[in-house]
Symmetry: C2
C-alpha cells in the first residue's frame, strides 16, 4: 500500500425532501448572496427550482440564477457565470443538477476568485487554490462531482475537454435526494450507472500490492450497482434502489475506494475525446471504451481480472485457465451494460472509425508520452483500443 | 434506507514515517501550545514520543506532556488533564496512542472548554458542543476513535463506563503509520481485530430495508479482516497486512458503513460492564459477548444471518435449512476469533457467573427500558446473553 492522505470534508445530507433544507445549509456555510446554477428546463418543470428558491427565501438569502448548463459543460457559460458573480458580489455558488451543473459551478467558483482566464486551471497552467464555497442539490447519480474536488469543462475553442482539481472546489455540502432522480430518462440513468462503475474500475486496476481493503470497497460498490441497477430501469420510482445507487455514486468517487494505490484513468482520457467530438454522454462513451481497454491490457495481470470476475461477476474460477475466467468477467460486464441499454461499440454510440486518428491526435501525447498507470499507453496503443471498440 | 447526514472531515495522513509530519499538521490546524497525551512507557521506549516532540519542535510549537492513560481510560487522569490545559493555556490536544489515549484526550479537550464537571457529558446531562482541537498519532488499530466523534471513559467512582459524542471532539487530523503497530503484543493485536469487526457487526444487524450499499461496505471490511488478520499474527511486521487492518479500523467506525440504517449497539453496552468490572480489554469482551448475542437474536432475522454467513464466511447456503447456514456463520466467527487467541467465554476472559446480576443491574435499565435496535433487549434478555457467554 502506498502512503496517502484522505480528506473528504463535504457535509452530505441524504434522503427524502432534503432539498427543502438547502437554505439552512447555505447559511451554515457562510453564503448570503447565491448564484443558483442549473441546466435546462427539467429543474423548473419538476418544481425543484421553486422549492430551492423557497428554502433560500426562508433563510433570508438573496440569489441570482444562471441556467443553461449542457452535458459536457462548456466554457462559454463558465465565463458568463464568472462575470455575473464578480458583478453581483456573489459569495456562494449553488449547483442544482448533475455532474455537468456541478462541474460548471466549480469552474465558476474558482474563476470568480481569479483575475486571469479560468482555462488556466484546466490547461494545468496554475493550480486551483481559492474558490467561492460551493453547495450542490444533486439530481443525477453519476459523476460523483458532489463529493469530489474535480471539474471537467469543454472549451468551445477546439472542443477540448479537460479536467482540473483542487480542494477549494470540493462542495462544502451536498444534498442528495434519490426521489429527484425518478424522472430521468432511462438512458441517462444507464449512463450514470456506467459512469459510477467506471470510477471504480479506474481505481481497481492497479499494480500496487497489498490493497485488500480498497479492493474490497471497490467490489462492494460494483456488487451494489449490479444488484440495484436493473431495479431502477424496471421501476424508475424504486426509492431503495435509487438511494443505493446515489450513495454508491458518491463513494465511488470521493476516493475512499482509491487511497493508497496507483490509479489508471487512461480510459477516461480516451473517452473524453469521444464525448467532446460527438457530444455523447460521458457514461455512454465509457461503456464503449472500458471493455475494449480491459481486453487490451488483460495480459498484463490476468489474476487481477480473474479476481474481479469471480468476486464481482460471480464467475467460477477456471484454475486450468485463469485467462478464460478473466475474459468471462469482461463479457459479463458487456452483457450487464448491454442489458441496461448502453452502447457497446462505435456504431451504437454514433462514432466513426475515420475520426480515430483525429481523436488520438487531440489527446495530445508526444511520441514518448503515455497515459495510464496500470499499463502505460502510447499513441499506437490508444489507436488500437479505439479500434477494439469499433 | 433512512434519511441521514454523513460528515467525516478528519484529515487522514497514512503511511510510513508520517508521525514525523505531526508538527506541520498541528500548526496547520491552529495549534500553538500542545498537550501531548499518551499511555505507558511503550511510546517512550519505541522512540515515538521523541520523534513526535522533535517534529513539534521543528514547527516551533510548545508543549506539555501528560502520560499514564490506562486501557479503559479513567476519569482521574481526565480531571488532571483538564486542570493542566486550563492552567497552561493549552490550545491543542495531541493523543499519541490507541483508542484509550484518544478517548481520554477527547474528554480532556471537551472538559477544557467547560466550566462544570466533564462527567456531565458522559452521564448525558449536557451535549458536547465545544472542545479544543484534537489530533492523533495512532499506535493501535482497534477503536476507530481516530475518525469518530466518540469518547468512552470509566468513572473511578463506581467504575461506571460511559460514552459521549459530539462533532467538536472529532479529530481534526489523524496520523496512521502501520509500522507503529509492529510491536504490539499478539493479544492486543487480536483484541483490536475483534473491536474493528464488532463495530461492523453493530451496524450490520439492522431492520432497515434497502441498504445494499452499506451491507456491501460492511462485508468489505469483514472480508479484509478475515484475509489480513492471520498474517499479522504470523508476522507482526507484515506492513501490507498491518496497513489494511489499520485503514479498515477507521472505515469500520467513521460511520460510512452505518449511514441510512438503524444500528444495534446492545453488545457494546453489554460488554462495557465486563471491561469495567474486570478491567479486561474491550475487544476481548466483545469476542465473548458477540457470538452469544448473535445466537440469542438469530431467530429474529435468519436470512440476515444467512447472508453474512454466505457472503462473508463463505458458507454454502442450505436452502432447505437457512438457519443451519446462519448458525454455521456464527461458528465460523467463533473459530476465526479463537484462531487469533481471543477468549470466547467467561472462563477464558476471567469473568464470573456470580457477577451477572450485578452487571445487569449496573447497565441501569428500568423494568420497561431496553437497549438495542435489531432486537430490543430487557434486563432478563441481557441476563440470558451473559449466561450464553459462560
Amino acid at each position: 500500500m502506498n502512503n496517502f492522505t484522505f480528506f473528504s470534508p463535504t457535509y452530505f445530507v441524504f434522503g427524502k425532501n432534503t432539498e427543502n433544507e438547502v437554505g439552512h445549509y447555505v447559511s451554515r456555510f457562510g453564503g448570503t448572496k447565491v448564484l443558483i446554477h442549473y441546466g435546462g428546463g427539467s429543474v423548473k418543470r419538476s418544481g425543484l427550482l421553486d422549492r430551492v428558491i423557497k428554502s433560500l427565501d426562508e433563510s433570508g438569502l438573496s440569489y441570482v440564477e444562471l441556467g443553461g448548463v449542457v452535458p459536457n459543460p462548456r466554457s462559454g457559460l463558465v465565463y458568463e457565470g464568472i462575470e455575473l458573480c464578480k458583478r453581483e458580489g456573489i459569495d456562494f455558488v449553488l449547483a442544482v443538477g448533475g455532474g455537468s451543473a456541478i462541474d460548471s459551478a466549480k469552474a465558476i467558483a474558482a474563476g470568480s476568485k481569479y483575475d486571469g482566464d479560468f482555462w488556466d486551471f484546466h490547461s494545468k497552467k496554475i493550480p486551483i487554490t481559492e474558490a467561492l464555497p460551493i453547495g450542490t442539490v444533486l439530481t443525477l447519480a453519476a459523476a460523483g462531482s458532489e463529493g469530489s474536488p474535480n471539474t471537467v469543462i469543454t472549451h468551445e475553442d477546439g472542443m477540448l475537454k479537460r479536467g482540473a482539481a483542487g480542494e477549494a472546489i470540493r462542495p462544502v455540502f451536498s444534498i442528495l435526494n434519490p426521489e429527484l432522480t425518478y424522472t430521468l430518462p432511462p438512458e441517462q440513468t444507464a449512463n450514470g450507472i456506467a459512469d459510477i462503475m467506471a470510477h471504480v474500475f479506474e481505481r481497481y486496476f492497479t499494480n500496487t500490492k497489498d490493497v485488500e481493503v480498497t479492493d474490497r470497497l471497490c467490489e462492494a460498490i460494483l456488487l451494489t450497482m449490479i444488484k440495484e441497477s436493473p431495479k431502477v430501469l424496471n421501476n424508475p420510482e424504486d426509492y431503495g434502489a435509487r438511494a443505493n445507487i446515489m450513495w454508491a455514486g458518491m463513494v465511488a468517487h470521493n476516493n475512499l475506494c482509491g487511497v493508497g494505490r496507483d490509479q489508471d484513468w487512461s480510459s477516461h482520457a480516451i473517452e473524453h475525446e469521444l464525448s467532446a467530438l460527438y457530444d455523447v454522454a460521458h457514461g455512454a462513451g465509457l461503456a464503449v471504451i472500458f471493455p475494449a481497454w480491459m481486453k487490451y491490457v488483460l495480459d498484463h495481470d490476468v489474476n487481477r481480472f480473474a479476481q474481479i470476475a469471480t468476486r464481482v461477476w460471480g464467475c467460477h474460477m477456471d484454475f486450468d485457465n485463469p485467462k478464460a475466467t478473466a475474459l468471462e468477467g469482461i463479457e459479463r460486464l458487456k452483457a450487464f451494460w448491454g442489458s441496461l441499454g448502453l452502447p457497446l461499440n462505435f456504431d451504437e454510440l454514433g462514432a466513426n472509425e475515420k475520426d480515430i486518428p483525429y481523436m488520438v491526435k487531440t489527446i495530445g501525447l508526444k511520441e514518448d508520452e503515455s497515459i495510464g498507470n496500470f499499463v502505460p499507453l502510447y499513441n499506437d496503443d490508444i489507436e488500437k483500443i479505439y479500434k477494439l471498440a469499433l
